[in-house]
Symmetry: C2
Subunit: 451 residues, 2 copies
C-alpha cells in the first residue's frame, strides 16, 4: 500500500536521497528542512508517516516529535526518527519523546520499507476507527479520549525464545507494574491468551527462527489476537527474520542482549497505542448503546423496545406488562420536576431489580414503562405483575425534602408465538385502562386472544 511520507532533515542532500528512494517505491513524498516547517507541513499536508532527522539546528528531532505527539491534530501520525548514531541513549530518548520507531543511518531499503509497511498497516485500521469516533464526538455522544493512556495494569504474555529470555523479559515488564504471564511454549501461550485479553505479546525468536515466525503468523491469523501488539525479541543475526516478521504483522522489536530501558520504552508505546485504539472502539460502542438507552433512567428506550418486541415474541410467546405511574402529573405539580424525575428513576430501579436478566424493561413514554417476559404465560405473568405493583407501592420514594408515596397501574397481556407486537400492546393498553378505571394501584389482565 502506498502512502504520504513527510521527510524532515536540515541537509538537502539527505532529503533528496531519501525522497528518491521512497519515490522509486511509489510513495508520495513531501519534505521539510527544519522543525518548525515540519510542524506546519504535518498539520497541513496530512502525511501518513513522518521520517524525522534527530540532529537539526534550532529545534531538534526530539522536540519536534514531542510537539507532534502533543497536538491532537498530528498525534496519530507515526513518527520514525532517523539518526546517524546507533546509540542506545538516543533511541530511548526518541522513544520517550513518543517516536514510533528508530532507523539508523545509513538506512537500508529492506529495513526502511518493512517498517513503513508495518506502521501503515496499523494506521490504516486506526484511521477508520478514528473517523467514526470523531463523528460520534461531533454529535456530542462521547468525550475526547484521554491521549495519555498509560501502561498501568496492562497485561502481557511473554513467550521466551531462548533460555536467556526466560524470566528476564517478564521481570522487566513486572517491574514496570504490568501483569505478566510467561508462557511455557506456544500452546501454553495460546491458552493464556484465550484466558484473558492481553495488551501485548512479546515473542522471543528461538534458534529455529522460522518456527517462531510461524507462531507469529498464527497469532496474526486469529481474528481476536490480530490487533494485540506483537513485539519480537531476536539476535542480531536474525535481523532478516525480524523484517519478515514485520510483514507478517509484528509491530516492533528489540535485539538481544535486551536493554531494559529500550524494551520498556517500546512496550510503553505499543501498549499506549493499543489502549488508544481500544478507547476509540469502546467510545463507538457506547455511542451506539446511547441510541437505545433512556437517558433519565438508563433503561432501554421506546425505540429499542419496539424493535425487539417482535423478535422476543417470535419464538416463545411472551407476556407484556404496561406499567403507568398513577397521578404522575400531580406529583410533578406538587413536588416539582426534579422530584418527578427522581420518582421515575426509583421506579425504574425497582422494576429492574425484580425481573429476570433476560426480560426486557423499557421506559416507553413519560411515565410509562414496558416489561416483556419471554416464555412466561398465564398465572406466572400475573404473579410477576403483582409483585412489580407491590415493590412500587410498598414504600414511598425518598427525595431530599421528604418522601412521596407512589403507585402504579399495570395492564398485562399474553401472546402466543407469532402474535404481532402492536396487537399485543393494544390489548395490554386496554387492560391498563381498566386498571385505571377500577381504582389504580392494581393489575388487570387482558382476556386471552381469540383463537
Amino acid at each position: 500500500m502506498t502512502a504520504r511520507i513527510l521527510v524532515v532533515d536540515d541537509v538537502p542532500a539527505n532529503v533528496r536521497l531519501l525522497a528518491a528512494r521512497l519515490s522509486a517505491e511509489f510513495y508520495e513524498v513531501a519534505s521539510a528542512s527544519s522543525g518548525p516547517e515540519a510542524l506546519v507541513k504535518a498539520a497541513s499536508w496530512n502525511p501518513d508517516i513522518i521520517l524525522l532527522d534527530v540532529m537539526m539546528p534550532g529545534m531538534d528531532g526530539y522536540e519536534v516529535c514531542r510537539e507532534l505527539k502533543r497536538d491532537k491534530a498530528t498525534a496519530h501520525i507515526p513518527v520514525v526518527m532517523v539518526t546517524a548514531l546507533n546509540d542506545r541513549q538516543e533511541r530511548i530518548r526518541g522513544l520517550e519523546a513518543g517516536a514510533d520507531d528508530f532507523l539508523s543511518k545509513p538506512v537500508d531499503d529492506a529495513t526502511l520499507f518493512a517498517r513503513l509497511r508495518a506502521l501503515l498497516r496499523v494506521k490504516q485500521v486506526e484511521d477508520a476507527w478514528r473517523m467514526r469516533a470523531e463523528a460520534a464526538r461531533e454529535l456530542g455522544l462521547s468525550e475526547p479520549a484521554d491521549a495519555a493512556a498509560s501502561t498501568a495494569g496492562a497485561f502481557a504474555v511473554v513467550v521466551p525464545g531462548t533460555e536467556a529470555d526466560r524470566g528476564v523479559l517478564a521481570d522487566i515488564l513486572a517491574r514496570e507494574g504490568m501483569t505478566v504471564e510467561e508462557a511455557n511454549g506456544q500452546e501454553d501461550a495460546l491458552a493464556l491468551l484465550a484466558d484473558r485479553d492481553a495488551d501485548l505479546i512479546i515473542l522471543g525468536l528461538g534458534p529455529d527462527g522460522v518456527q517462531s515466525l510461524r507462531f507469529a503468523s498464527r497469532l496474526r491469523a486469529d481474528s481476536v489476537l490480530r490487533d494485540v501488539p506483537l513485539l519480537l525479541v531476536a539476535d542480531q543475526a536474525q535481523k532478516p527474520l525480524v523484517l519478515r516478521g514485520f510483514d507478517l504483522g509484528a509491530n516492533d522489536h528489540v535485539l538481544r542482549p535486551v536493554d531494559p530501558a529500550e524494551l520498556l520504552a517500546r512496550v510503553r508505546n505499543q501498549v499506549r497505542r493499543r489502549r488508544t485504539q481500544e478507547m476509540l472502539r469502546a467510545d463507538l460502542d457506547r455511542s451506539l448503546e446511547l441510541a437505545v438507552t433512556d437517558s433519565l433512567t438508563g433503561l432501554r428506550n421506546r425505540r429499542y423496545a419496539m424493535r425487539h418486541l417482535d423478535g422476543l415474541m417470535r419464538s416463545s410467546g411472551a407476556t407484556a406488562m404496561l406499567i403507568d405511574v398513577d397521578r404522575f402529573k400531580s406529583i410533578n405539580d406538587r413536588f416539582g420536576h426534579a422530584a418527578g424525575d427522581a420518582v421515575l428513576r426509583e421506579i425504574a430501579d425497582r422494576l429492574r431489580a425484580h425481573v429476570r436478566a433476560a426480560d426486557l424493561v423499557a421506559r416507553i413514554g413519560g411515565e410509562e414503562f414496558l416489561v416483556v417476559a419471554a416464555g412466561t404465560s398465564g398465572e406466572t405473568g400475573v404473579c410477576v405483575a403483582e409483585r412489580l405493583r407491590q415493590v412500587v407501592a410498598e414504600r414511598p420514594v425518598q427525595i431530599p425534602d421528604g418522601e412521596i408515596p407512589v403507585t402504579v397501574s399495570i395492564g398485562i397481556a399474553e401472546a402466543r408465538p407469532g402474535t404481532r407486537a402492536d396487537m399485543l400492546l393494544r390489548r395490554a393498553d386496554d387492560a391498563l385502562y381498566r386498571a385505571k378505571e377500577n381504582g389504580r394501584n392494581r393489575v388487570e389482565a387482558a382476556p386471552p386472544e381469540p383463537s
Copy 2:
C-alpha cells in the same frame, strides 16, 4: 500480513502443493476436497480467503462459489477460483458466480501472493466495519443491508492509457447503464474525482507503465479516494507492473485486448463490493444519528441539546427559548395519545420551519421544546419567540377526526458569552413559569443577567 487460507481441490496432490507454498509464506492453511466439505469448513473455520478449484466431481467450483456468496455467514469471504484453463468463458462464469478473482494453473508465486495481499488488505478494513455494523444491528439500530447491491446508477471515471482505450472502455460501462466520465489525462481525472464521488476508477497503463503506477499510487495516498475500487487495464507484457499495482492498492485488472464481458463482470463485482461497504458505513452513521434524535418528532433530543448548549454559548452568547405546549394533558385526555403525538409532531415541524438552519431545535421533555439561537440578543430574540408563538397559535392542528387548537407558552433568556448553560435554562424556565401564570399563549423574557 498473514491470514487463513482455505484450499479447495479434489486432487490431494494439488492441495498439498498449494498448501506447502502458502505455508512457506507463513499463511495458515486448511483444506477441503469437495464442494460440500468446503461449505462446511468455510462456515466453521472462518477463513480469510478461499482458493477454489473449478473442476470438481459432484458440486463444481461455480456452484460452491454461488452457495458461499448466497450465505450471509460466508458472503464476505473473498473467493479466488483456480482453473486449469485460461479460458475467457470460464473466467466470466466464475466472476458471475461472485468470484473475486481468477488464477490459472500453473499458478506462479508472484501472482498468487500479490493477489492474496490485495484481497486481504481490502478485507481487513471491511471486517472492522462489518463488526461494528453487526453490533448496531443487534441493538436494533439498523436493518440488515441488502446484499444485492447493483451497479445501476454507479459513477465511474476512466483514465485511458492508450489510444485504443479511448472511448472503448467508457462505452462498455455506459452500455451497462453506468455513468462514465473519460478523463483527459491525470490532472483532469483528479478534477473529475474531486467533483463527484466515484464508485470505480479504471486506469489504463500507458506505454510508460511506471508513470501510470505513480498515478495509481497518488490515488491510493489520498484519504478520500483510497477506498474507491481501482481496476487496471494493461498489456500482456505489463503483467509485472500489474502485480506491482496490486501491492500499491489496485483491486483488479483486465488485459488488452479487453473482453467486454470480462470487464463488466469484474466491474460489477468491484462496484458491488464498494456499495456494500458504503452501506455498512452509512448504517453506522445513521445509528449514531439515532442516539441524538427524538424519535417522535425527528428533532434533536435532550441529550444532544444539553451537550451542545455549552458549545453554542461559549463563543457568541445565545438566546434560549423554552417552549411548553399549553394544557397538553387535556389534549391527550380528550383526543387520545395518537392525537397528542400528532400535535407534538406538527409543532416540531412549525418550529423547525421558522428558525434559522444554524439554530438548535430540540424536544427536551414530553411537551417541552428548546430553541437556541446563537448570536441573537435582546429585541431580536423576543421577536423570534413571538413569531414562534404565533405560528403555533394561528391555525389548529389537523387530525383525522377534526382539528385541535393549540397554543404554547414561551420563556426566553439571553446569555452573554461564557454563561453556564444550566443557569441560562433556569432563567428561561422561570420566565416560562411566568408566561403560564400570566395566562398562557404568551412570551415572557427573563430579566437581564446581573453583571
